[in-house]
């Protein structure tokens, strides 16, 4: 397309844009009306959650909902993360331009200093999630940030680790989650229906495995492709 026809094209698009703005304004007005017509006070499910919180094994209501009352959602969500990674890996190897850049001395030193601190913060967030804001996803996000920092500083996982060890680390979270659910079914309970006396420990176990897997999955997604695996002899 020549520049002239592009200008013509954009001129043709002006009525379309105006129509779009009108339609979207109508949509925004409608959505705003729906939001404003909601009742001013609506406790939702907060009363039920507060009533059952003592049986959940944790005292932070968000963690209780995520890992106990609606553990099903979180289980499937770790599956979605894994599926996204499978999708990215199916598109091919790591894009080429990554390996050519060399980090400056500041990034190199800073990443070495920051990564242990980030791992410590992730552990803290994981632990504090039982009774304050925090939990597996926050911890996993901080771990992923550490991984992204390492990748930006030019570090790549060795071919020795990018085969089976990486895959085991990726599926640990979902695996332990499913395993806990299946064991509970075998014990005559429903999927992820924790016994109240063990609920706290089970949640911590699941969260620890999940945050490790979430962190590594997100960092692997940042890598943008399947890392090279050491060829079999």
């Amino acid at each position: 397309m020549t520049p002239m026809s592009m200008i013509e094209n954009s001129r043709q698009q002006t009525p379309f844009r105006l129509l779009l703005i009108v339609l979207l304004s109508a949509l925004a007005t409608g959505l705003g009306y729906v939001v404003l017509s909601l009742p001013l006070e609506d406790p939702g499910l907060s009363e039920q959650v507060t009533a059952k919180l003592v049986h959940s094994g944790v005292s932070n209501p968000v963690t209780a909902v995520l890992l106990n009352f609606r553990g099903y959602d979180t289980l499937l969500e770790t599956g979605v993360l894994l599926l996204a990674l499978v999708g990215v890996w199916s598109l091919g190897g790591i894009p080429q331009q990554r390996s050519s850049t060399r980090p400056g001395p500041v990034l190199d030193t800073l990443s070495r200093q920051l990564v242990p601190l980030l791992i410590l913060v992730a552990g803290y967030l994981l632990w504090v999630g039982a009774y304050a804001p925090g939990g597996a996803f926050q911890a996993g996000a901080v771990l992923a940030a550490a991984g992204v920092l390492l990748l930006l500083a030019g570090w790549l996982p060795g071919a020795r680790f990018s085969g089976l060890p990486l895959r085991i680390a990726l599926v640990t979270g979902l695996g332990i989650f499913v395993a806990v659910g299946m064991v509970l079914i075998l014990l005559g309970r429903r999927l992820l229906e924790y016994p109240p006396s063990f609920a706290g420990s089970l949640i911590l176990l699941i969260e620890a495995a999940a945050s490790l897997s979430i962190g590594i999955t997100l960092a692997a997604l940042f890598l943008g492709g399947r890392p090279e695996v050491e060829s079999r002899r």
Binding site: M1, M6, R17, L20, I21, L24, S25, L27, A28, L31, G32, V35, L36, L38, P39, L40, E41, D42, P43, G44, L45, S46, V49, T50, P61, V62, A64, V65, L66, R70, D73, T74, E77, V80, L81, L83, A84, L85, G87, V88, L91, G92, P95, G135, F137, I214, L218, L221, F222, G224, G225
Partner: protein, 102 residues
């Protein structure tokens, strides 16, 4: 409690702005960013409406749903970016077939 509705309306505005950008911009990176802005709007609406408990602790169920939603949005964004890079290497342009510049 009117600030709850202010936040919710900002969420509606973000959603609409994101939808506009999604339709108007042909470049796929902009479309992916627009979808993320739309998602942020939805999360803002959910979190804001969860605070309508009359001074008590906000409803934790929408908060948990938003955390779930953020993780799903990140996964979808990563997959979309990988697909965009693949489209770029295959065709030389990060655009959908009907919006390519010949």
């Amino acid at each position: 409690m009117s600030h709850v509705f202010l936040y919710a309306l900002v969420g509606v505005g973000l959603f609409t702005l994101g939808l506009y950008a999604l339709i108007v911009h042909p470049h796929l990176l902009r479309k992916i960013l627009a979808i993320n802005v739309m998602g942020s709007g939805v999360f803002l609406v959910l979190v804001a409406l969860a605070a309508r408990t009359g001074g008590a602790v906000p409803d934790p169920v929408p908060h948990a749903m938003v955390i779930t939603g953020i993780v799903v949005a990140i996964s979808a964004t990563a997959l979309a970016l990988a697909l965009m890079l693949r489209v770029q290497t295959e065709t030389g342009q990060a655009r959908l077939p009907e919006e390519r510049i010949e």
